[in-house]
């Protein structure tokens, strides 16, 4: 099927990498982009896609999506979540190493990739473990992980035993040419917190996580990035101050980047009021000032990518007293619509929004994706910016229904997704 010759006609093509925003045909053959523009003479399409009224853009690159396989298949599987990814316009996704077993050997990397390939819905690129078993004590076999296909290593949300381990791990990763992904969170300051340390948690009497848990970890990591020369990517920021620290380091020429989970750009600490466990996330939703700082960082580019931070759970995970519930939101399927809301709210223009979902994260990871350049893989998302839909079945495909947006109306939805020229998702009207 991928050998098919396809022309996508009538859509507004937005390809930030090539500064394209125009109504042009997209020509595809053998799973790759032939051209965006005039159909070459003699090109006989055996399939045409009518994209009138729709945006045609590169498939999205999600820097953090948990698929729960291997190890937590009762919550979700690679097949179920890559289907949700396809329905969300995501064609390349990076999964953190905190599976069971942990992604700290080539065997587990291969396992994840083989299962993703057999599902065939999205490219899945595992992030390797920074330390063996994610235990934070010994370095993982990073060189082998790289050979198996990892582009980055990280310790997910698990702490490192001390800063010396982090220093050595960063040095070794730099030596291997691997990006180090850090979810900045100082474990002792995090303590047993489950909500932002602020007015809402104080009123609800919830154990709280201070902003300093993030800023202290960012400061430590930045100092070590400077010391070691490692490339560092900060995942899922939540504090305005952390954004400013990273922007300052970037200004000094440090090779550091950052992403933000899409829901952090919309919700604040008040989302947990009434003990709403669906809004229990880690890092927690913080203040309006933090949300504004994240939005500003995104607009200015110090935050280069919007990720889903997808964390599907089974129903039981949220059925308990708030502090005992699992953190995380099933968020792939609201990724585009919540990003488009930033365009409506004038945080980003449409092209920049698409860039933060595709080209910019691809550059951060150094992965060949996120563009419609000639010869690129034909990973393409078509979406209708005016499509109205509700966050519930039959639209909802992820196993995880744990979202504070459950049942909410959204504007803007994916209509078709192509992976190497093959349609992996199509919305039927």
């Amino acid at each position: 099927m991928s050998e098919r010759r396809i022309v996508i006609r009538g859509g507004r093509v937005i390809d930030p990498a090539n500064a394209i925003d125009a109504c042009l045909p997209v020509v595809i053959a053998e799973g790759r982009i032939v051209t965006v523009g005039d159909v070459p003479d003699g090109f006989a399409a055996d399939h045409e896609i009518d994209a009138r009224g729709q945006i045609v853009c590169p498939g999205f690159v999600d820097l953090c999506a948990r698929l729960r396989e291997p190890g937590q298949e009762h919550e979700a599987t690679i097949a179920s979540e890559t289907a949700a990814a396809a329905a969300s316009g995501v064609t390349t996704l990076f999964c953190p190493p905190d599976t069971n077993p942990v992604i700290d050997t080539p065997a587990v990397v291969n396992l994840v990739q083989e299962r993703a390939e057999s599902a065939g819905m999205a490219r899945v690129l595992p992030i390797g473990a920074l330390t063996r078993g994610l235990r934070g004590k010994e370095l993982s076999a990073m060189s082998s992980l790289k050979s198996a296909g990892c582009l980055a290593v990280g310790n997910a949300q698990r702490p490192l035993e001390n800063l010396l381990i982090l220093r050595r791990a960063m040095e070794y990763a730099a030596n291997c040419g691997l990006l180090v992904v850090i979810r900045p969170d100082e474990p002792y300051l995090h303590n047993r917190g489950c909500a932002h340390e602020g007015a809402v948690a104080s009123r609800l009497g919830l154990p709280a996580i201070p902003s300093a848990a993030e800023t202290v970890a960012v400061a430590q990591t930045l100092a070590l990035a400077e010391q070691t020369g490692a490339r560092v990517h900060f995942g899922q920021l939540s504090c305005s101050r952390a954004v400013a620290m990273i922007a300052e380091a970037q200004g000094r020429g440090l090779a550091v980047s950052a992403d933000v989970a899409v829901h952090q750009l919309h919700l604040t600490e008040s989302a947990i009021d009434g003990f709403n466990a669906d809004a229990h996330v880690n890092p927690p939703f913080r203040t309006e000032a933090d949300r504004e700082g994240l939005r500003r960082g995104l607009a200015q580019g110090s935050i280069g990518a919007i990720c889903s931070d997808h964390q599907p759970h089974d129903l039981d995970a949220k059925l308990d007293a708030f502090p005992s519930t699992e953190a995380g939101i099933s968020s792939l399927e609201t990724l585009l619509a919540l990003t488009l809301r930033l365009v409506t709210e004038r945080v980003l223009n449409l092209s920049a929004a698409i860039s933060r979902l595709s080209r910019d994260p691809a550059i951060i990871m150094g992965v060949d994706a996120g563009t419609l350049s000639q010869g690129a893989k034909a990973d393409i998302c078509l979406f209708d910016p005016d499509l109205e839909w509700l966050a519930r079945p039959p639209v909802w495909l992820s196993r995880g229904r744990n979202t504070p947006f459950w049942g909410d109306p959204f504007t803007g939805g994916v209509t078709q997704t192509l992976l190497a020229g093959r349609t992996v998702y199509r919305r039927f009207a």
């Binding site: 340390e197 948690a201 104080s202 009434g274 059925l319």
Partner: protein, 326 residues
């Protein structure tokens, strides 16, 4: 509204989970009802038949003798059947989920749960998931809320002081971890107290404490100056040694209520404590047993207030309505 869960479709009080979102009228009605039960409990025959045939389950996931006993007495004096389930040593320690525990006891045709749990939000969670005919009273959840304790404290204050609007109240001690303090602060503000102060070291104050509706003091002498009511909080043993405070002696030195310190307050100030008291830590025995102390009145008032809340929830009368304030 976030606490709508406390009311049924007709606006009647169905659950009693937090003081947040309750009107002044409703709090006054609880105290008025408690006043009528207070006379019952002082009679020779202490029972009234209001809840005959109803079953109240004391569901305690956290040990407590005093609170459980007063809830039990309150239910019995209303002629309800009482079942005590001590989960701290029971089902959930065998791996049963909170929801399964609730479902199982619910299946025994009960009418009310009194819930105590170590985690904030537990009572809300249970209230959200119980069958429609069951009412839930929060008997204390984590550091969040202990509304019947707050109401018995308000009732005690009213009996001694009358009008709230002229009162300056200082709450002293571990505000950060105290569900009692949080509930008292909301109740006092709802009832129009002139000033609510909290007095604590920084390590025992939550972030943005002012947003709770209080004035913050870090110095006990200044915090007690001119107050009408002093509410002392219990300092948990595990917080005394190192993590939050250097040691208990230093705490007594800085934040313990002694006779001398009591002199900073108004001459007719009353001293309250939700119990159990750590004598010689947060309060000196001379004060705890002295003429200003109303600690034992608090305990006996606790029964009347809990009777009031239980009867308002279970009788289905209009006594628990919001009173046109919403």
């Amino acid at each position: 509204m976030i606490n709508d869960i406390q009311f049924d479709a007709a606006g009647r009080l169905r659950h009693f989970l937090t003081i947040q979102g309750l009107s002044r009228e409703l709090l006054v009605r609880i105290m008025n009802t408690a006043e009528s039960f207070a006379s019952v409990t002082e009679q020779q025959v202490k029972k009234v038949p209001l809840l005959r045939g109803k079953t109240v389950v004391n569901l305690f996931f956290e040990n407590s003798t005093r609170t459980r006993t007063t809830f039990e007495l309150a239910a019995k004096r209303l002629s309800a059947d009482v079942l005590n389930v001590n989960i701290a040593t029971s089902a959930t320690s065998k791996g049963e989920s909170l929801l399964d525990t609730i479902r199982n006891i619910e299946a025994m045709q009960v009418d009310m749960f009194v819930v105590r749990h170590a985690e904030s939000g537990a009572a809300h969670f249970i209230a959200r998931h119980v069958a429609p005919h069951i009412s839930v009273i929060n008997g204390g959840d984590g550091s969040h809320s202990h509304p019947t304790q707050a109401m018995l404290d308000m009732f005690t204050i009213r009996r001694v002081k009358g009008d709230f609007t002229r009162l300056k109240v200082a709450i002293v001690g571990d505000i950060m971890h105290s569900r009692v303090a949080r509930s008292e602060i909301i109740a006092l503000n709802t009832l129009g107290a002139a000033q609510v102060r909290v007095v604590a070291p920084k390590t025992l104050l939550p972030a943005d404490a002012e947003a709770l509706g209080v004035e913050v003091f870090h110095d006990l002498d200044r915090g007690l100056e001119g107050v009408d009511v002093i509410m002392m909080l219990r300092l948990q043993k595990e917080r005394m040694s190192g993590a939050f405070l250097p040691n208990e002696h230093e705490y007594l030195d800085c934040f313990g209520l002694t006779e001398e310190r009591l002199g900073m307050a108004k001459s007719d100030a009353i001293v309250m404590h939700p119990g159990p008291i750590n004598r010689g830590v947060e309060i000196d025995s001379k004060v705890a047993d002295g003429p200003s102390s109303v600690v034992l009145q608090q305990v006996s008032n606790g029964i009347a207030v809990r009777m009031a809340v239980m009867s308002m929830l279970l009788r289905g009368s209009d006594e628990g309505t919001i009173g046109g304030s919403v």
